[in-house]
């Protein structure tokens, strides 16, 4: 065959993540997983189902809850009382033990972190962003939250209370941001589009669409 060069070229550049040698941690993980399955403590299907359930979460589900709270005062009361039940009202099953919505006000800004690992409301929002699980964010968000917020582009007046929530145990959290000015005519769906993932963690503020 005369076209071997083209083929070998293509192969050299093909995605090859399966060919990379396992790290020690990956090898340990696979060995442990296989042992648990072998001993009948967990099934391969249960692991798969959990990964599938986690992947159902998207920031848009949290955004829908926020937009509903902005347009329905009674829903807002229920959301602040029990966010897990409030999610279920919108057909969103939260599988974590409890979900707490933290209300931002002109005098209070909430910021969520998990200093010990990567606790995050995955069934609602999906996997956390890479920065959320980074050691830099986890250590700095509790110690110097205003500097961290500034790096995300949020400058708050000194009189505003910054309240950090270290999500370290059984509860999970989302921020209920303030509705931005200039959004009076928007529909609930349009409002939900303003609420990004970072707004729900407290590292961004929703903005009215630029006219």
């Amino acid at each position: 065959m005369n076209d071997t060069h083209e083929h070998s070229h293509a192969h050299e550049h093909a995605p090859s993540d399966d060919d990379v040698a396992l790290s020690e941690e990956e090898a340990k993980f696979i060995a442990l997983k296989n042992l648990l399955i072998e001993k009948g403590l967990i099934t391969a299907d249960a692991i798969r189902a959990r990964m599938e359930a986690d992947a159902r979460g998207t920031p848009h589900q949290g955004a829908r809850m926020v937009a509903k709270a902005w347009t329905d005062a009674n829903y807002k009361v229920r959301l602040l009382k029990d966010a897990k039940s409030a999610a279920l009202e919108l057909g969103i099953p939260v599988t974590e033990a409890a979900l707490v919505a933290l209300k931002n006000t002109p005098r209070l800004h909430n910021l969520i972190v998990c200093t010990l690992c990567s606790c995050y409301p995955r069934s609602l929002l999906g996997e956390p962003p890479a920065w959320y699980v980074s050691k830099a964010y986890r250590s700095r968000a509790v110690r110097e939250p205003r500097n961290v917020l500034a790096e995300f582009g949020i400058a708050l007046p000194a009189g505003t209370e910054v309240r950090v929530h270290d999500s370290n145990a059984d509860l999970r959290y989302i921020v209920l941001p303030m509705r931005p000015a200039g959004t009076e005519t928007l529909s609930e769906q349009q409002l939900a589009d303003l609420v990004t993932r970072d707004c729900l963690v407290g590292t961004a503020l929703p903005r009215a669409p630029s006219v």
Partner: protein, 101 residues
């Protein structure tokens, strides 16, 4: 209800976080140990993660609270706002009552 499962603290109580020096799957980070805060809410009864992580049998459900701190209490020379705060979940056996000053 077993004694370990009896909630001993109420909202507003001042508490000091103990330093139990335990190893393993401990959910009380070092930076709050020895510090004084107030109970923000009772979260309910949860299995003790220090036991659950190792799949031990007969583990009790124990009270979990959210504790509210002034950032200035947690960090010497805290550089943020004077009113900045932090809240974190702490299991009851890490809490001791603290007198109101």
């Amino acid at each position: 209800m077993a004694a370990a499962a009896e909630p001993r603290f109420a909202v507003g109580d001042r508490v000091r976080i103990l330093d139990l020096g335990k190893a393993g799957h401990v959910r009380t980070p070092t930076y709050v140990r020895g510090r004084v805060g107030t109970i923000e809410r009772f979260c309910g009864l949860f299995e003790n993660p220090e036991e659950r992580a190792y799949g031990r049998e007969g583990r009790d459900r124990i009270p979990l609270y959210r504790v509210h701190f002034e950032q200035r209490e947690l960090w010497s020379g805290y550089g943020g706002g004077a009113h900045d705060t932090l809240e974190i979940e702490i299991y009851q056996h890490w809490l001791a009552p603290e007198e109101t000053p």
